[in-house]
Symmetry: C2
Subunit: 483 residues, 2 copies
C-alpha cells in the first residue's frame, strides 16, 4: 500500500508522506503495533531521499501516532481511530424478556459465591484430581494420528460418527432397545434439554417434574414459559399417587421430566419396580418422558438399574439425555439425546441452526478415551472413592446435623431437611466461617424447601468434610439456642 | 448383588439361582455383555456346590439369556428388557413451528449434496491440509503442561480468561476502542448470532441486512420471526441511498446486520469510507449494528481496513461477532461477541442457560496457538495460497463463464451473475458431470438471485478449478444453444 502514495509538486514531500501515513493509521489500515517500512525501504519505494522519510516519521512521532524502538524500527501507536462517544444505546431497554429472565434466573449471579480457601459443599462437579490426564493425552494423540488435520475441519450436526455408534452400543448395554432410535450429540445435558424444550413445547405447555428437581432444568422450563407441575419426592422418589392425581386433574400435560438415578438434589436412586410403575402411569395418560440419564454411571457395578428408556422397549415415548459431565471432563461439554429417529432428525436441524455442531475434536477425544477402556477403568476407580466420601459424609451428618430426614443413595451429594432451621440464615452464618453449601429452595418449583440444604462432597477432602460438617452443626445449635 | 440371592428349601437350588439371575437380567441390573461370576466364585458366595451353579448357568444359556466364551467365562446376552411397542407417539404432531421451520430452512437437507469424487465449489470451509497439525499438537501439550487436569473441569460461561484477554488485545490491534466493552466466547459465529437475536429481538422486529447475505444469518432471522429488510448490494457493497430510503420509510428498525469484509456471498470488501458512511446513516436513525467479523483475517497484510466497531469509537452501538472458522480449526467452534459490557453481561446469562460454556479445552488450545505466534504465521501462509487461487479462479471465470458481473475482492469465493441462465438448471446439469456449486438464490432475502452462483475455491485444487470451471462454461453454452 505504500507504493500507492501519490506525490505532487505543490507541497513538501515529507508533509505528503506524513499525511498519507496518518490517513492510513486513522482509517485502521495500519493496525496498532504494526511495523512501518524502514526509512531506507520507503525512500527506495517512493524514490525520494532517506532524510525526507526520516522527517516524515519524526513528524508522526511528534503527534504520538508512531513510536520507535531502537534497532527494531518504527511502529504504529495504540490509538483509537475514533473516540466518538455521543451515541449511547440503552441496551437494558433493548433486551427482551427472555434474556432478562435468563439473567434473573442465573444463580451464578444471585447466590453466594465460593471464595478461595472455603470449604465448598456447593459444587457437585467431579474432583478433577481424579482425572486420568495421561490417558486423555494419549486419546488426543490417537485422534491426531488416526484422523489427522481433518478432525479440525467442520463436522456433522448430528455428531462424530464413531462416538454416536459407540454410544448406541453403550445404550444397548444398559438394556435399551435401539430399534428406530437415533442419537444427537449436544454440548452437555443443558443444551440437550434446551433443544428438546425449544423443539417440542409452546408457551404455557404443562410439564411434570419431580419437586425438588435439578435447578438448571427449572431455569430452562421457566425460560420456555412452561407451566411446571412439580410432584413431591418421597424417600423412594416421586410420589406415585400424587402423580396419578395430577394427571387426572390436568388432561393436557405435554411431557414429563424425570431424573431416576441419583436424582438432583435428593440423590435418590429409583428402584426398577418404581420406574416401571411410573412408566405405566405416564403411558396410560399418554405423557412422553424426558429422562435425565444424569450420573447413571456412578451406580455401583452389579447393581445397575436400567433406565426408563430400557423399560419403554421399542416404544418411542422416552427421550433420554445422557451426559458424563458429573463424572468425566465436564469442561468439554459433551452430552447426547437418544430417542425416536424421526424426532432426532428434527432436533438435528435445530442443533445445526444454533451452533452447527459440537466440537469434533472433543468428541473424537472422548470416543478414543471410551473405546480404549480408559473410561471403564476410571469409573471403577472413582465409584469407590465417591462411595467412601458418601459414607463418611452421611455418618457425620447423622452425628452433627439435627434433621428431619437425610436423602441420598450414594452419588455426589446428600439432601437434608433440617429441623425448623432456615437454610439461608444458616448459610449466611456458615459463610462467615468459610463454609458454603447449596440452599435447597433453589431446587423447588413452588418456593418451598426453605429448611433444606444440599451437601455436595465430590470435591471436598475428608478433612474438610469433617471440619465443614462440624461447623454447620455448630451454627445450627447456636441458632436453636438463640431462638 | 449376588450375595443378596436368598435361597429357600422348597425349590431346587439351581432353579432358585437361575430365577434370581434371570430377574436381574430382566430388570437391567446385569447389562448386556457383562460377565457373571465364575461358577466357582458364585458357589463359594452362596455356599452351594459348584455343579448346582453350573446347572443354573446351563439353564440360563438354554434360554439364550447368557452365552459362554471358552476360557473367558459366562456373559449376559444382548437382550431387550422390554419389547413393548404399542405406544407410538406421533412426534411430528408434537414438534412446534420453530423446529419445523428449522428443518425446512436446513439447506443440508434440501440442497444437492457433495458426493465423493466431485469437484466442489460449494463449500467455503478452509482447506484442512493447510492446517499446522504439529503446532496445534504442541499447543495442546502446552495447555496440559500449564493447566493440568483443571482444564478438563467446568469453566466460566463468559469464556476462558486468557483467551478473552488475548482477544481484547486483538480487537485493540484492529483499532478498536475497548472502553466499557467486553467479550463473550461462543460456539462460533452461529451461536453468537443466535444468542444476540434471542436476547434483543421480538417476533416481528425489523432487521436490516445486505441482500444477498449469509444464508445461516437469513435462517436465524427467519427462525426468530424477524421482518427482514434486505438492501441491495452493489459493486462496492450495500446501496447507501436505498439504505437511507428504507430507514426513512420504516421508523422502527431494531438492528442492522452487516458483513463488511469478504461479504458472504459476494466477496466484497467494503472501503473504509463506505463503512464510515454507513455508520453515520445508521447512527442518524439510531439503529445499532451487528457486525459479522467474518474472514477479516484474510485481508492482505498492510491493507487491513478497520471494522465498523473501530469507527464507533467509545460508542456502544456495535456488537461485533468474531470467528476464525473460515480460516482455522472450524471443527472447534469458537467465536466471540465483542460489545457493550452490560449487554455482554446479559448475553453471558443466556449462554449459561443454553450450554453452560464453550469447551474450555478448545479455548485453551486456541489461546496457546494464537499466543505463541502460530496463528500469525499460519495466516500469512494461507493468505498467499488463497490469493493465488482467487486470481486463478477469477481469470478462468472471466474466460469461460458468460456473465453480467463477477464480484469478489479476494477471500474464498466469487459471486457471479449469469447472463439469463437459471442457476438451478445449470447446477442440475453440472451435477451430472461431477461439479457442484452453491446456487445464489439461497442468499437472497426476497427469492431473487435465480441467475447467480457462488463459487467457493478454498478446498479445490488448481487442476480441479480449471476442469470445473470449464465444465460450468460448457453447460452454460449448451443451455444457450438449446434455448
Amino acid at each position: 500500500m505504500f507504493f500507492n502514495i501519490k506525490l505532487n509538486k505543490k507541497e513538501p514531500i515529507y508533509i505528503q508522506v506524513h499525511n498519507s501515513i496518518k490517513e492510513m493509521i486513522k482509517s485502521g489500515m495500519l493496525p496498532s503495533h504494526s511495523k512501518l517500512p524502514s526509512t531506507r525501504e520507503l525512500a527506495l519505494m517512493l524514490k525520494v531521499g532517506r532524510s525526507t522519510i526520516l522527517k516524515a516519521y519524526e513528524f508522526l512521532e511528534s503527534e504520538n501516532l508512531v513510536y520507535t524502538i531502537k534497532g527494531k524500527g518504527t511502529f504504529i501507536s495504540e490509538i483509537d481511530i475514533n473516540v466518538k462517544s455521543e451515541w449511547d444505546i440503552n441496551w437494558h431497554k433493548n433486551v427482551n424478556d427472555y434474556s432478562k429472565k435468563a439473567e434473573e434466573l442465573d444463580i451464578m449471579k444471585h447466590e453466594k459465591l465460593y471464595k478461595k480457601g472455603m470449604i465448598s459443599f456447593k459444587t457437585i462437579a467431579p474432583d478433577e484430581t481424579l482425572f486420568d490426564v495421561e490417558e486423555m493425552k494419549r486419546s488426543f494423540l490417537d485422534v491426531i494420528a488416526v484422523e489427522g488435520e481433518k478432525i479440525l475441519n467442520y463436522g456433522y450436526a448430528k455428531g462424530y460418527k464413531s462416538l454416536i455408534d459407540f454410544l448406541m452400543e453403550y445404550m444397548k448395554q444398559k438394556g435399551v432397545n435401539t430399534y428406530n432410535k437415533s442419537i444427537l450429540i449436544t454440548n452437555g445435558f443443558t443444551e440437550g434439554f434446551d433443544i428438546v424444550l425449544s423443539s417440542i413445547t409452546e408457551k404455557g405447555d404443562k410439564i411434570i417434574c419431580e419437586n425438588p428437581t435439578h435447578n438448571t432444568a427449572i431455569k430452562l422450563m421457566k425460560l420456555h414459559n412452561l407451566d411446571i407441575i412439580g410432584i413431591t419426592v418421597g424417600k423412594d422418589g416421586i410420589n406415585l399417587k400424587e402423580l396419578e392425581k395430577k394427571l387426572n386433574m390436568y388432561k393436557d400435560v405435554k411431557i414429563a421430566y424425570l431424573i431416576p438415578s441419583y436424582h438432583n438434589p435428593t440423590g435418590i436412586v429409583m428402584s426398577y419396580k418404581k420406574r416401571e410403575n411410573i412408566y405405566d402411569v405416564l403411558k396410560k395418560h399418554n405423557v412422553p418422558i424426558i429422562e435425565d440419564g444424569f450420573n447413571e454411571e456412578l451406580q455401583h457395578l452389579g447393581t445397575h438399574i436400567a433406565p426408563i428408556t430400557a423399560i419403554s422397549g421399542r416404544e418411542n415415548s422416552v427421550l433420554y439425555i445422557g451426559s458424563l459431565s458429573k463424572i468425566l471432563f465436564p469442561g468439554m461439554r459433551i452430552g447426547w439425546i437418544f430417542g425416536d429417529k424421526k424426532l432426532i432428525d428434527v432436533l438435528e436441524s435445530v442443533k445445526r441452526s444454533r451452533n452447527i455442531h459440537t466440537s469434533v475434536l472433543d468428541q473424537a477425544i472422548l470416543y478414543h478415551y471410551m473405546k480404549n477402556g480408559s473410561f471403564e477403568r476410571y469409573v471403577k476407580k472413582v465409584r469407590n472413592i465417591y462411595k467412601d466420601k458418601y459414607e463418611l459424609t452421611k455418618k457425620l451428618v447423622k452425628k452433627h446435623i439435627p434433621n428431619k430426614f437425610i436423602l441420598g443413595d450414594g452419588g455426589l451429594y446428600l439432601f437434608i431437611k433440617l429441623d425448623n432451621i432456615n437454610s439461608r440464615e444458616l448459610l449466611d452464618r456458615c459463610y462467615e466461617r468459610g463454609v458454603i453449601f447449596m440452599p435447597g429452595d433453589i431446587f423447588y418449583t413452588d418456593n418451598e424447601g426453605k429448611d433444606t440444604i444440599r451437601l455436595g462432597f465430590s470435591r471436598v477432602s475428608e478433612k474438610e468434610i469433617k471440619r465443614g460438617i462440624k461447623i454447620i452443626g455448630e451454627e445450627i445449635n447456636k441458632m436453636v439456642r438463640e431462638s
